[in-house]
């Protein structure tokens, strides 16, 4: 077993062009964060030699809430609003796999309409989250227009999500057995308009941000993660796909309606910050495609309660009336004290930042025995430690922004 020195570790992995030397005492130590504008609640302790980062130590936990423990004291369904607070702008993607794990333990499958509704909201969330990421990325490299534009355009997606669920951010939309609301009548029209708007708008994004010579120069060749190292470090999501890894949870284990809708998973092989930005950019395009298909499907098929019949078969007429009028699915009072049979399940879903994995264990009570969450940002945090050394201090924001690190999600 070798001595763990950062430079050596990298050369062992075959990463060329980075420094290989022992740590020295007289290095300049700078604390980037946790109060910097844009960096969020996270600190990176950086030791620099001149302008070169020698060592970067991500110091997380500033917004830690011990969700894994809190969930053990709460009933199953109450954990949905809890877990979505990891990434509130990506709420559906984050919670859908938890709900899937519960469904696996219960042994039920949501009806197709619920699957499509969840997929629809997941993709709306994905676009919103990617735009959020782009915005923060823009701030990091000083491009304030990108920030303002993507936050303004995110509003379109938030508006759609609000129409669909009744809440702008924390939708708490998926529940075991289905989804909580059907889409309103005027939704398909609005969604199609938004899709057409975004198709045109993405071109402008490309011109002012991705193809802007200043931005390109700043991103190209920064934070390169070769394919082998990406697999070794276990990075997820756009970071992995920008390094040539053809992995997407939607692809590996299609959930909800993802095995029925047609879409591509963009993969780039450069592995630098620019490739990561392009993965996100292309993913927005694919999400638009999925939204179109989901809306088409939902419009064609008859409107019925998007929930498993186990929770709807005994619905009184009042509930059906409410569903007809508002599209709202009433919950059985037993939902509150839902008892799951003993069992264990794992489920994964692809959030905007990468794959989220839930391990859920039930011992037959109304509360979980154990829930283990591994969120994408928590897995990507390792990039700071192994990839940032060797680059310049001014590259750190670029790397940070390009892996789209989101502290509340990593800290859980």
């Amino acid at each position: 077993m070798s001595v763990w020195v950062y430079g050596e570790q990298k050369s062992e992995l075959g990463l060329e062009g980075t420094i290989t030397r022992k740590l020295e005492e007289d290095l300049y130590e700078v604390f980037i964060g946790p109060q910097h504008p844009g960096s969020g609640h996270m600190r990176i302790i950086v030791r620099i030699d001149g302008d070169i980062i020698v060592e970067a130590d991500p110091d997380m936990g500033y917004v830690h809430r011990t969700m894994e423990k809190l969930s053990e004291g709460r009933e199953w369904i109450k954990n949905v609003p809890l877990f979505e607070r990891m990434a509130i702008h990506d709420a559906c993607n984050v919670t859908v796999s938890y709900v899937m794990a519960l469904e696996r333990i219960l042994g039920i499958e949501p009806p197709p309409r619920a699957k499509y509704l969840r997929t629809l909201l997941c993709e709306i969330n994905r676009i919103a989250a990617h735009l959020y990421g782009f915005g923060i990325f823009g701030v990091f490299i000083g491009h304030s227009t990108m920030y303002m534009w993507s936050f303004a355009d995110r509003e379109v997606m938030v508006e759609l999500a609000e129409k669909l669920t009744g809440a702008r951010l924390t939708h708490s939309y998926p529940i075991p057995g289905g989804a909580r609301r059907d889409m309103p009548q005027d939704f398909p029209q609005a969604a199609r308009k938004a899709v057409r708007y975004f198709r045109r708008r993405l071109d402008e994004y490309r011109k002012i941000f991705l193809d802007n010579p200043v931005t390109r120069k700043r991103l190209e060749g920064v934070g390169i993660i070769p394919k082998k190292i990406a697999a070794e470090l276990g990075v997820v999501g756009p970071v992995a796909r920008a390094s040539g890894i053809k992995y997407d949870a939607r692809l590996a284990e299609p959930y909800d309606a993802y095995d029925e809708v047609e879409f591509e998973v963009p993969v780039y092989e450069e592995g630098d910050a620019l490739a990561r930005a392009w993965v996100k950019f292309e993913e927005i395009k694919q999400s638009l495609r999925i939204i179109e298909q989901a809306v088409d499907w939902l419009e064609k098929h008859p409107r019925e309660a998007p929930i498993h019949e186990r929770f709807w078969a005994k619905a009184p007429p009042l509930w059906k009336k409410v569903f007809e009028a508002e599209g709202r699915v009433k919950l059985l009072p037993l939902m509150a004290n839902l008892k799951l049979p003993p069992g264990r399940a794992m489920a994964r879903s692809e959030t905007a930042r990468g794959e989220i994995v839930y391990y859920v264990e039930s011992d037959g009570k109304t509360t979980p025995y154990r829930v283990r969450i591994v969120s994408p940002s928590a897995r990507n945090a390792i990039v700071f430690k192994y990839i940032a050394p060797g680059y310049k201090v001014m590259d750190l924001p670029t790397i940070y922004g390009s892996i789209d690190y989101f502290p509340p999600e990593a800290d859980r």
Partner: protein, 163 residues
């Protein structure tokens, strides 16, 4: 690839090591003895499981043991990517020490640090076993162990509303 096929691959890889299979919904776990953990994990890695998705530790207080499972999967092999296979071990609660798997899977480095602070499980030979998320005074209480109890409020209020 289905879980059964994955099971056959892993069984082949683990030949010569004693193991127990724990099945769950959507994954499969192989529990080996603590001494064989590093060897088993290395063989699993050679079989193509190149990263760890989740280092899951469950505290079975009634049985007085921790179950430590590394849920691995693959990136480079697109077939194996469809399954999640766990390799794990069980340690008594009184002496929670396991060899680290950082040198097998680099992706567990931060997760092992996390487990260390939440459960107090010591990973021997881990290069950088420090606290990751918690403050020292909180980590002392080992919050994810079952001894640490978070109580929910009752649904009937005793204090009247103020507003």
């Amino acid at each position: 690839m289905s879980l059964d096929q994955a099971r056959r691959i892993v069984e082949e890889a683990l030949s010569g090591i004693e193991y127990r299979v724990d099945e769950g919904k959507g994954f499969i776990e192989f529990i080996v003895a603590k001494e064989n953990l590093v060897e088993a994990a290395s063989r699993l890695k050679k079989a193509g499981f190149d990263h760890v998705k989740s280092l899951t530790v469950v505290d079975y207080k009634a049985e007085d043991k921790f179950k430590i499972v590394y849920h691995a999967s693959s990136y480079l092999n697109e077939d194996l990517a469809k399954v999640i296979v766990g390799i794990g071990t069980e340690v008594p609660r009184s002496n929670p020490k396991v060899p680290t798997l950082v040198y097998v899977w680099r992706s567990v480095e931060f997760q092992e640090r996390e487990v260390f602070e939440f459960f107090g499980i010591e990973f021997e030979d881990h290069p950088d076993l420090r606290l990751l998320l918690l403050a020292p005074q909180v980590a002392e209480k080992k919050p994810l162990r079952k001894d640490f109890i978070v109580k929910e409020e009752p649904i009937i209020r005793t204090k009247p509303p103020t507003g």
